[in-house]
Amino acid sequence: MSSSKQPASTSFKAPDSSRLQLDEQGRLRHFLTTEGLSKDILTDIMDVAESFSSVGNQAVKKVPVLRGKTIVNLFFENSTRTRTTFDLAAKRLSADVINLNIATSATSKGESILDTIRNLEAMHADMFVVRHSASGAAHFIANNVEPHVSVINAGDGSHAHPTQAMLDMFTIRREKKEFSTLKVAIIGDILHSRVARSQIHALNTLGVKEVRVIAPKTLLPSDTDSLGVHVYSDLRTGLDDVDVIIMLRLQRERMGAALLPSEHEYFECFGLTEEKLAYAKPDVTVMHPGPINRGVEMDAAVADGPHSVILQQVTNGIAIRMAVMTLTLGQNKVAG
């Protein structure tokens, strides 16, 4: 039983990244996790993202702020959507971008991660955007880079996915304006979800009224008490009076681990339909990080319905990533 709670590929310790990601002046130097970051820093990220949102309206969709910087997207695990938005964010900031799919590159020839990093540093990279199936990978790299290099975590194992969490916070703020009155429900595979962990930390820091997680017992982590959430295993009860619903993607690869009987049964109990949506507030906002498994996590009618902000999340994701890249690289320069 305990082995099912560990992702198979964990080889780094999921660390306390909160200190490593701030410089001596308490400003963001790396962005590895939302855990331990102050409300002020999270608010700064959203404020800067708000300013970057207007860049998409320009005829020339670019600002020169990171001109001359080199950003390396280091993806040890595939993710087309996340990589595309990081790529686009860097290009809108006028940075030069290199996309490396390490799964198909040097490490398969036996090169260690550190050798890869040293080589890229020798090519004068200024930032690494790291995606890895092992928890703690971005932290490990941040611990080993030169002082002028920043690291952004684009998802590490089941540990954290802070830019996804922040684009969700940004989307909520744009929809609801104020966090303090909100009841937010996160639904799905909480156990394996780095997104859920990062969201829960951010929501609590930003001071929402209540965070709920709704999931089958097999998909709940053992430490829900310490996370500061209310746990529900019945969807209708959990949805009562909520302002925001965040659906998680059900990773099909987890199905094999016998944690779930079948997709059909999951949809019966935890799939979001219009009928179940009626238990939430009338102006409820429905979010999903994508890609959606229609008919598994939610009905197509809900995904495409008036409450859904799924496509706004994608647009907001670019602005949030621009903000994090600019803040980390900007603060970094002062020391150098």
Binding site: S54, N57, Q58, L66, G330
Partner: protein, 170 residues
């Protein structure tokens, strides 16, 4: 010096600027200019000018933080504001308004940002104060007040109500 600046009637200076602008627009046969104020002081001045001139097109605003030339030295100010510029800058006659013209670097950044929205037909620069000590080859078309200040003196507009000039030594 400080007391002199503080006693200046900013409203009256902006009135003079508005008259000069109206003359120039007439001379150049510009009917519906697009006014853009530079955050934050320039926007305060622009709000007054926009009202006094009775312009029909809504006032646009620009924050040049992402276009500054000193990002690699001082990083980003998180208090950056969104720019609100209509997407059809193409073919517009723009009046760009700032509070204090000093090195010219802010205006350089503002021009670059405007041109990323399109190709305006013309840009007229109006400033409340020209304090000299330019570092770039730029000049203002409309100047409210010319001051001859030593380089270590800083002058800044406080507001929005009332608008006043203040200097501080640092």
């Amino acid at each position: 010096m400080d007391t002199d600046l503080a006693s200046i009637d900013i409203e009256a200076v902006i009135d003079i600027m508005a008259n000069k602008l109206a003359d120039q627009m007439k001379r150049r046969r510009i009917v519906e200019p697009l006014m853009i104020g530079v955050h934050t002081g320039g926007l305060w001045v622009a709000e007054k000018l926009h009202q006094k001139l009775g312009l029909t097109k809504p006032l646009a605003e620009i924050d040049i933080s992402f276009y500054r030339d000193d990002f690699t030295r001082i990083g980003l100010n998180p208090q950056v504001k969104p720019s609100h510029i209509p997407s059809e800058v193409e073919g517009e006659h723009i009046i760009l308004v700032d509070d204090v013209l000093y090195t010219g670097r802010t205006i350089r950044a503002a021009l670059n940002e405007i041109f990323d929205y399109g190709r305006p037909d013309s840009v007229t620069l109006a400033v409340l104060v020209d304090r000299g000590a330019r570092e770039l080859p730029l000049h203002a078309d409309i100047v409210g007040l010319e001051l001859d200040l030593s380089p270590e003196k800083q002058v800044k507009l406080t507001g929005p109500a009332p608008l006043a000039l203040e200097t501080n030594r640092n």
